[in-house]
Symmetry: C2
Subunit: 243 residues, 2 copies
């Protein structure tokens, strides 16, 4: 539960650069000002925890910059990266709505800036402006779609196809176009986390990567990846889907 501290500066959601991307875009100026009074803006270092599984909810988080990994742990210590979140995304609204504990953990994947919105402030706005509720509802609806698609993929695709799928997503989100058709990306995830996202062991990920290198589809060096021809990668993925 974040507390206001010396390093935190006053926040104006009205002036926020993601104002028109985030869920709060449905609020009027005066409501945004009201929201701002309940906001604490804070920077997180790479790997730092935003909230942990089991914590009691204290409001919602709005990602302003960077990226966040949402992780689920089971009783035996298995860890799965369920979801990656980016600027404009809202975190923790499920436990907020069900007014319970966090069922997942969230951690910064790199230097990240996140605003925390106080429960009371949000409840108040939510009560008066049904549009915000509907906006959350739309977010929830599309998050269910995402989860279902991920479930479908994990149930029907082989490890290699799932890895290609993930790589493609990461390139879209984190990649840079270097020259015609070639992409460069600095992976935001460790091998272990890549593995946990597709439901396999890190050794298997290593082997998949080794094969992709041998086939000339991508060159890996630590977390740095160069994909010389995107269409080759896409074709590879398609061939798996087609079979």
């Amino acid at each position: 539960m974040p507390e206001r501290r010396a390093s935190d500066s006053a926040v104006s959601c009205r002036l926020c650069h993601i104002r028109h991307i985030s869920d709060w875009k449905v609020l009027r100026d005066d409501e945004l000002d009201e929201l701002s009074t309940g906001v604490i803006r804070r920077e997180y270092a790479s790997g730092e925890t935003v909230y942990s599984i089991g914590d009691t909810n204290s409001g919602v988080y709005c990602i302003s910059g960077g990226s966040v990994g949402v992780r689920k742990l089971d009783e035996q210590g298995n860890s799965v990266l369920l979801h990656l979140a980016y600027p404009g995304d809202t975190l923790g609204y499920r436990s907020f709505l069900l007014s319970g504990e966090h069922k997942t953990s969230a951690e910064a994947l790199g230097p990240t800036v996140i605003c925390h919105m106080d429960s009371r402030t949000i409840s108040a706005i939510l009560e008066r402006n049904p549009e915000l509720g509907l906006q959350f509802l739309r977010r929830a609806a599309s998050e269910i779609d995402q989860a279902h698609t991920a479930l479908m993929n994990s149930l029907t695709l082989c490890n290699r196809a799932r890895f290609l799928h993930l790589l493609l997503f990461l390139i879209k989100r984190h990649g840079r176009l270097v020259e015609d058709g070639a992409r460069f990306i600095e992976l935001p995830l460790s091998r272990r986390d890549l593995a946990s996202m597709i439901g396999t062991r890190h050794e298997t990920v290593s082997r998949i990567i080794a094969r992709l290198e041998a086939e000339g589809i991508a060159r890996f060096s630590g977390r740095r990846v160069m994909v010389p021809r995107m269409d080759a990668l896409v074709a590879e993925l398609d061939s798996h889907l087609a079979n």
Copy 2:
């Protein structure tokens, strides 16, 4: 998009036996009466389709009796049973909210009664009563949790554990206590559907079943299953989780 027909009778949501279980429990009497004007109640035979993937949404469905399977299909014809729904559950609200096409199909798993609520009527009520939106939101939130748990299971558990997990769920939902500690259940799903829920082939399900029989944990005869000792089944499942 269901049309009113001779066999359909007028409906009063106010008198509905699931009134206090369903999402509509947050509505006042007069709102329920308004809702009723947009409702068509209909019976479905086992296996009958409620809506299909790709259909444009025409409102939401409220399950009154029976059970429904929610299925997702991919481009290659893979079919996965994502979710089972029961009386009091609302279906199709995601595509309603995102006002798009259905991304899943739904079919009756046995003789089932479902009410269809007209888009316009719901929109009207939703606009006036924010409580309904919040109720949908709570439903969506818990559905996300479910989907995440399912995803976690599919990524970390082996086929056998997933099958035991599913069997346990089905017994809880559809099982009958026959004598102290023993349960009987008539499975609502074919082997293929059982397989598609845990992401494996139907042959593998057959083999898992054969092993459970050999170990004396359950006796299968077609869709009829007898579990002599529930604690043995639970212990089996736990031992898999523990490893």
